[in-house]
Amino acid sequence: MDYEKIKKSAALKQKIFSGVIYFFLAIWGLFVLFPFYWMILTSVKSYSAYNSEYIPKFFTLSPTMQNYIDAFTTVHLGRYLWNTLVFTVITTGLMMLVITLAAFAFARLEFPGKNLVFTLFLALMMIPNELVIITNFATITNLNLRNTFAGLILPSVTSVFYIYLLKENFAQVPDALYYAAKVDGTSDMKYLFKVMIPICKPTLVTVGILKVIECWNSYVWPRLITDDEAYYLVSNGIQEIRENGFGRENIPAMMAAVVVISLPLIVLFLLFRDKIMEGVSRGGTKG
């Protein structure tokens, strides 16, 4: 009898407790999602409707696509997106090539001075970007590479951290495979591309996705190196739109541009959610 009562009150307590937890989690979820909701909502409100709402409405009954059309026609959003795409694809592609070769050398090949170079590489991980960006700016300016894709891309095609991450993964591939390939007369290069890369594909994909995110959102370097609108990436583009674009008051069109810019990465995230989260917990640094 008494025992039943205790059990019941314990269950009730448990229920209230988990209710409180869900409530708390939902509040944080709202805080995270609300800006997204607000930007989508604002982007489908018409210009006149938005400006006549002294008290902003939380929904709209007459959604319009006009702002999206404006975003692509009155400002150069399409060009910003194209520039960012080109920048992201070339930078990520080049980086993958450079770091794969380097990681392979560290993980598999034997050569004099290997340990020394590896230690030096690791030491470079501690160098903050802010310290080297000043000279890089001067270098690129003196090479007359401002407002070119080469200037945008060149300084960001190596990452010591990703070399390290990949080297650790390469080193896990059993030595026996390498010796077997050597007996068959396979060259190192062929071994790398036919054996190593297929085995380590998951890590390579993760590194690639993380780099894509980084490229898509990069702001500081592109801002320093481009002042010609024809070479703006999306981050600078949105800043340009904010300061000179639609006129400061056309917030709905601005929000449409924000939605268009945010969408590709959100789709990428939803597609590769587990890969991205696993990758970030192993090698992310933001925050």
Binding site: V132, T139, T158, E249
Partner: protein, 298 residues
């Protein structure tokens, strides 16, 4: 094997070494050279003298002092708050089963968004314009408070939005790392504690916290470093002219000195960057010393 093969590894390393040499090692040396060259002229690439004048100029520049003050405030406010809330959320997340994946996905979204873009949303939520007071001000009205312009208004209001946005941005990383740390704590410890009838709070304090202390400590260190380098989030909220908005950060000062309307002074920029680096190093060393006492490595 031919003797040339011995050096083949270097060939594979060559691209990486070239890029790192040009864009990391050389600049690292050069930044110290720049910082010592007084009166350096970017156009003619000449300078008058060498010495510590650049450092003294930067340290006496009111804009720099303002930037230092802003940066320290942001660090002091956001690092403890974001780490604390992330810990709370992660513990709550680990205690539930249904919907956990959904919550995790939602919480991670800010990580993959462009800070410049979403910063604009925060701006319109907090900004007071001729047409509307903005959503947040209406909420304040609802509770009977006076409306404030958070974007161009008083300093504490601006700092508040800034910190709120920084926390919004840095949270995903912290929650992700803490939830995986919590998941890796061995069940046996909890079961043993339960057999002894240990209270939930005591379990948390005596088992969970020590077990995840390495991750927590890692987050505090990276949090400090990240917050000291705060820049893009400020631009997202207040525009590129951060000095006028009184919201500049140390990194922002470096870039302003380098480029833009106030730019063209790489020597001052270098001096400021080196000062920033020294601050970050000092704080990290202090963190490491403190952690020796409190972090339990298994």
């Amino acid at each position: 094997m031919e003797p040339t093969n011995k050096y083949k590894g270097w060939l594979y390393l060559l691209p990486a070494i070239l890029f790192l040499g040009c864009f990391m090692v050389y600049p690292l040396v050069d930044v110290f050279v720049y910082s010592m060259e007084e009166g350096y002229n970017f156009a003619s690439q000449t300078f008058f003298d060498t010495g510590f004048y650049n450092f003294s100029y930067v340290l006496h520049d009111p804009y720099f002092l303002q930037a230092v003050k802003n940066t320290f405030l942001m660090v002091v406010i956001t690092v403890p708050l974001s780490t604390g809330i992330a810990l709370l959320i992660s513990v709550a997340l680990s205690s539930i089963k249904p919907l956990r994946n959904l919550f995790q996905t939602i919480y991670f979204l800010p990580y993959v968004t462009n800070t410049l873009a979403v910063g604009l949303v925060f701006m319109i939520l907090f900004k007071k314009t001729a047409y509307s007071d903005g959503l947040i001000n209406l909420l304040i009205h609802l509770f009977g408070g006076p409306s404030v312009d958070f974007i161009e208004g008083p300093y504490p209001a601006k700092m508040f939005v800034m910190c709120l946005y920084i926390i919004w941005v840095v949270m995903p990383f912290k929650i992700l790392l803490l939830t995986s740390a919590l998941a890796s704590v061995n069940e046996h410890y909890y079961n043993a504690a339960k057999v002894d009838g240990t209270s939930k709070f005591r379990i948390f304090y005596k088992i969970t916290l020590p077990m995840i202390s390495p991750t927590l400590f890692y987050l505090v260190i990276t949090g400090f470093i990240g917050a000291f380098k705060e820049y893009s989030d400020a631009v997202a909220l207040f525009g590129t002219n951060l000095n006028a908005a009184e919201m500049n950060t140390i990194v922002g000062y470096v870039y302003d000195m380098l480029y833009g309307d106030s730019g063209g002074y790489p020597s001052y920029a270098s001096a400021a960057a080196i000062i920033l680096f020294m601050i970050v190093m000092t704080i990290t060393c202090i963190n490491l010393l403190i952690s020796k006492k409190h972090v339990h490595y298994v």
